[in-house]
């Protein structure tokens, strides 16, 4: 299996590819040099000529300006003792910096420490007068503000990890790792009580601790461990309200809850046993208890039902048990069978949370959920000839889905339910696959699979219209999947790979339950080519086209407030992607090598929807002089070009030059009104606008000095 290059934005990537190869023009290295671990340090400067709001969200180089580039991969080994010291430090000059250091006496003991920052800078610029965005008190201006300030959402994840390894001898190891990640920042949010802008404050920590004892013998392997995780949020409630120009709060605060601290503890045992050279059995059991029992925050002056919990006593117990057997029964026939039981059982007590004084039509209870799935698989592979094999198998899954009902009406229907429920779900899948070597240079495989999902009648909701839908994840469904792969090497220097995939879903619906997704399909064609022009020059290219479609049927209600007629809607959604990648690399002169990578991507989303009135009224809502228009298509285009050249100064040193070009173009209307003007929150309040430049392009120039040593 060869591999094809894809475009990497990160500065280090291509540099590494060069750095790990021998420098051009150097003398033939000795055997000792060729077999001794190698280190490399890359240091340099780069400059982006413009901001890259969309394409720079994660790489720490979103803004125009200079960047310090520093990467180091140090690898030292004491051959006498087999002791390694490795340091892998990347992007040290950027917000995406990370490093990992490890000391390891191979086969005996080791320790490691790791630091990793992952930035996320929102691609949008927010123009707003809302105060306190990203904090626990946010105030929305009234009247709507016209003097707006710039604000940007974003988060930074900052993680520390430590690990320890010790061989206990006889094939038994002990490993423990601890990771703490702090996440801080904010993300786009809404006020909830009104369609006004807000920003969720994020200031939390996650911790993960895993300790594992593993034993690996020739016949028997086992792994037993503890995995614990916890989440701590420093914010639990956000107080929002409208204020006037003088800063006086005009409305009662509207409180938005936030996720509360939670934790989980898991014990697991995972093992395998080779019954014979040809037959192996495996098993895994795991038990996890997750809890959430923090003080539930309540805003000042907020009415709370007397029976509502002050602590949720939330608990989710998850049990996993699985068994598997695989066997090569004969030289031509192999098979495997597995059975899996997975039970996610929420044991949170059921509380009444909402109960109006006048009655229980809109009572709300907590809804602890439980999903229990028993699944099995049987698969066989028969080798007809050395190059031809046939695979067949089937899988079965039976799910028991439980949610308690509380707020029952006279008919026994849970009045708080908005979506039909299904207490059971079954899915049967079968598939066949053929693989054949058509010649010395041509291999192919073809696969077809079909699955059918169904279950008993849905339980009803509180509302007749809600009962007309087949929810996507529990609806009856027939799924067909085809896959064709061809791998052809017509010349020793040329490899071609062709993929075609097609999947089609048909969802169950009836006159009594007509709505929801009716059908969907996904098609993918892909071709890859790699050609070695000469010993010193290689070129590769690939192209993929994917197309996903969905047909969705629904009912739109008549609404006097916006003068709409009752109607049937049919949306025919489509997502089309074209992606092209190409790369060329080679030796330009004895001491000079270089290359180019190109990635072109175009995505088109279509949202046509027909609205067929079935009663009196308008097709589109109208109120206050505002109406809506059908959703236009959206097209996103991306170009990423990377040119690089590396010149060998000496045997172990190089200087590398990079030029990158990024281009992003979109006609996304998500934050626009129908006429293309900027969407503005509120009418008499707020005034926030969210902006995205429809065209973004930037050039990067970089130079690095690369030193390799042993």
């Amino acid at each position: 299996m060869g591999s094809k290059r894809i475009f990497k934005l990160t500065a280090l990537c291509a540099a590494l590819a060069l750095a790990w190869g021998p420098a051009l023009g150097q003398e033939e290295p000795s055997a000792a040099e060729l077999s001794k671990p190698e280190s490399v340090v890359l240091v340099g400067l780069g400059y982006w000529t413009d901001d890259r709001p969309r394409l720079g969200v994660y790489d720490g180089m979103q803004e125009k300006g200079p960047y310090f580039l520093l990467d180091a991969l140090i690898s030292r080994r004491d051959d006498a003792t087999g002791t390694w010291f490795t340091l892998d430090a990347r992007n040290l000059g950027l917000d995406s910096r990370e490093f990992r250091a490890e000391w390891l006496r191979q086969g005996d003991i080791g320790v490691s420490i790791e630091y990793n920052q992952i930035p996320y800078a929102s691609p949008y610029t927010v123009m707003t007068a809302t105060q306190g965005l990203g904090t626990s008190m946010q105030r929305t201006p009234t009247p709507s503000a016209t003097s707006l300030g710039e604000w940007q959402a974003g988060t930074m994840r900052e993680g520390w990890s430590a690990g320890f390894y010790k061989s206990l001898g006889g094939g038994t190891d002990f490993r423990v790792s601890l990771k703490n990640e702090h996440k801080e920042g904010s993300r786009l949010w809404g006020r909830g009580g009104a369609p006004e802008f807000a920003a969720e404050p994020i200031d939390s920590d996650t911790r993960q601790l895993e300790a594992v004892v593993s034993h690996a013998g020739k016949a028997f392997q086992i792994q037993a461990g503890y995995y614990g995780s916890s989440y701590t949020n420093r914010n639990s409630l956000v107080d929002t309200a409208n204020i006037n120009a003088a800063g006086t709060t005009l409305t009662n605060p509207f409180y938005l809850s936030l996720p509360l601290d939670n934790q989980a503890h898991q014990l697991y045992v995972n093992g395998g046993y080779n019954f014979t050279e040809r037959t192996r059995g495996t098993f895994k059991v795991a038990y996890t208890r997750a809890t959430q029992d923090e003080d539930i925050p309540v805003g000042t002056g907020v009415a709370v039902f007397s029976g509502a919990p002050t602590h949720l006593d939330g608990r989710l117990d998850t049990t996993l048990a699985q068994l598997g057997v695989s066997s090569r029964a004969t030289s031509n026939l192999s098979w495997l069978a597995s059975l899996r039981y997975y039970n996610a059982d929420e044991k949170t007590p059921q509380y009444r949370v909402v109960q109006p004084a006048g009655g229980c039509g809109t009572c709300v209870d907590t809804t602890p959920l439980a999903f229990k799935t028993l699944s099995g698989k049987l698969e066989g592979t028969y080798r007809l000839t050395a190059g031809t094999s046939l695979i067949g198998g089937f899988e079965y899954a039976d799910q028991d889905r439980r949610v308690p009902v509380g707020n029952l009406n006279a008919a026994g229907v849970d009045q708080q339910r908005y979506v039909p429920w299904r207490v059971e779900l079954q899915e049967l899948t079968y598939y066949v696959q053929g693989r054949r070597s058509l010649s010395e240079t041509l291999n192919g495989s073809i696969r077809y699979g079909h699955s059918r999902r169904d279950g008993p009648d849905f339980t009803l909701t509180n509302e007749a219209q809600s009962d007309l839908i087949n929810p996507i994840h529990i609806a009856d469904r027939d799924r067909d999947k085809f896959r064709l792969m061809l791998d052809w090497s017509p010349l020793q220097a040329l490899t071609l790979t062709f993929n075609a995939e097609y999947a089609r879903d048909e969802y169950g619906h009836s006159d009594a339950r007509p709505y929801g997704l009716l059908e969907g399909s996904a098609t993918l064609y892909s071709i890859d080519a790699a050609y070695s022009i000469s010993e010193n020059w290689q070129v590769s290219a690939w192209y993929s086209r994917d197309n996903a479609k969905a047909t969705q049927l629904g009912q739109r209600n008549a609404n006097a407030g916006v003068a709409t007629a009752e109607a049937v809607k049919e949306a025919n959604l489509e997502d089309i992607g074209d992606t092209f990648g190409a790369g060329l690399k080679g030796t330009i002169a004895p001491r000079l090598k270089g290359g180019v990578d190109l990635l072109l991507s175009k995505n088109v989303n279509k949202y046509p929807e027909t609205i067929t009135p079935t009663g009196a009224g308008g097709v589109f809502p109208v109120t206050g002089g505002v109406t809506t228009v059908p959703l236009p298509d959206i097209q996103n285009k991306m170009t990423r070009l990377k040119l690089y050249a590396s010149y060998a100064l000496q045997k172990q040193t190089e200087v590398r030059f990079d030029y990158w070009y990024d281009r992003w173009q979109t006609d996304d209307w998500s934050w626009l009104f129908a006429n293309g003007s900027t969407f503005t929150y509120g009418t008499t309040t707020d005034g926030t606008q969210v902006l995205q430049a429809p065209k973004q392009s930037a050039n990067f120039f970089g130079v690095r000095y690369i030193s390799r040593f042993q």
Partner: protein
């Protein structure tokens, strides 16, 4: 191809009389006992054999490390070409793209030492049962195995997973192409979990980084607890937060409630606070139902259960 080159090289050596048997005894170079092979094989091979010395396999102080024949077999016929053979037989086990060695035997060479830990369930994995051998992805002789570096790992995975290659280049994606995550951040490709995930389910895998979604919440949103992938495509989409579809269409895959949740998609022509017109623009339905992953509000209000508080 590697094997063919090896055979060609050896053939050339034979033609010039420089047969292996005539060479003086040589010392091991990078592995214990490698002289049997390195007397002929060197950096002239397509896969530079000596680079294995830079890897953990080449740490000779560790008594567990292999020699060439641990993986390739004793290959006596290859080392000592039978007199009646016109071509030098191949080693007992070869690992290149055009290898004739059965996949089980190729992977078996690795599993002889590496069957423990996260590879215990290898035989139950989709890769194992689709004739993907360890050497299909791993470069054993390379100083740095591409698939074990998160920066370059996706190149290897995308060799077969073309759909995911297209998806990670969509505007809303996890930071895979930026090198901050890799496929193995979520997938244990040696394991037997559904979708070969690192944890036992989709939600458990997502919680490793998105633990705030774990709850339990006072007001649960059932698909959140069941499977994040009902609404999200984690490999990338054109929509914010890697949503599979745009509101209101996404929400209307389950919700057929009367009143404003039944609205058609549409862009407003001007400023409005009508919930009948705000299901598509800006954050769509989430303009108001902002705590869509679950709410902890105990306010005695009917809207408390609708993820608005």
């Amino acid at each position: 191809m590697k094997t063919l080159l090896v055979v060609a090289l050896l053939g050339a050596l034979l033609a010039t009389g420089a047969v292996a048997q005539d060479k003086p005894a040589r010392k091991d170079l990078v592995l214990n006992g490698d002289a049997k092979c390195t007397r002929c094989h060197n950096e002239g091979d397509e896969a530079p054999v000596l680079a294995i010395g830079k890897t953990k396999h080449g740490t000779m102080a560790d008594a567990r490390t292999p020699t060439c024949t641990s993986c390739h077999g004793e290959s006596d016929g290859h080392v000592n070409k039978p007199a009646n053979a016109t071509e030098r037989p191949r080693p007992d086990r070869t690992f290149g793209k055009h290898s004739k060695t059965p996949m089980e035997e190729r992977s078996g060479a690795c599993l002889a030492c590496h069957q423990g830990g996260n590879r215990i369930q290898w035989h139950m994995s989709a890769h194992s049962n689709r004739d993907v051998a360890c050497s299909s992805c791993h470069q054993i002789h390379a100083a740095r195995d591409k698939v074990r570096d998160k920066l370059t790992q996706p190149d290897t995975c995308f060799t077969c997973h073309k759909e995911q290659r297209a998806q990670v280049n969509r505007p809303s994606h996890h930071p895979v192409i930026e090198g901050k995550m890799s496929c193995s951040s979520c997938h244990n490709v040696h394991g037997g979990n559904p979708k070969q995930l690192v944890r036992d389910s989709v939600t458990e895998t997502c919680y490793t980084c998105h633990m705030e979604k774990r709850g339990p919440f006072v007001h649960n949103h059932p698909p959140v607890q069941e499977d994040c992938a009902i609404c999200h495509q984690p490999h990338g989409t054109t929509l914010p937060s890697m949503l599979k579809a745009r509101p209101p269409f996404l929400c209307q895959e389950c919700h057929s409630h009367s009143s404003h949740p039944s609205q058609a998609g549409g862009l407003p022509t001007g400023r409005t606070t009508s919930n009948q017109m705000l299901g598509s623009v800006a954050r769509g339905c989430l303009n108001c139902h902002t705590n869509i992953h679950g709410s902890n509000s105990t306010q005695n209000s009917a809207t408390a259960g609708r993820f608005r508080r």
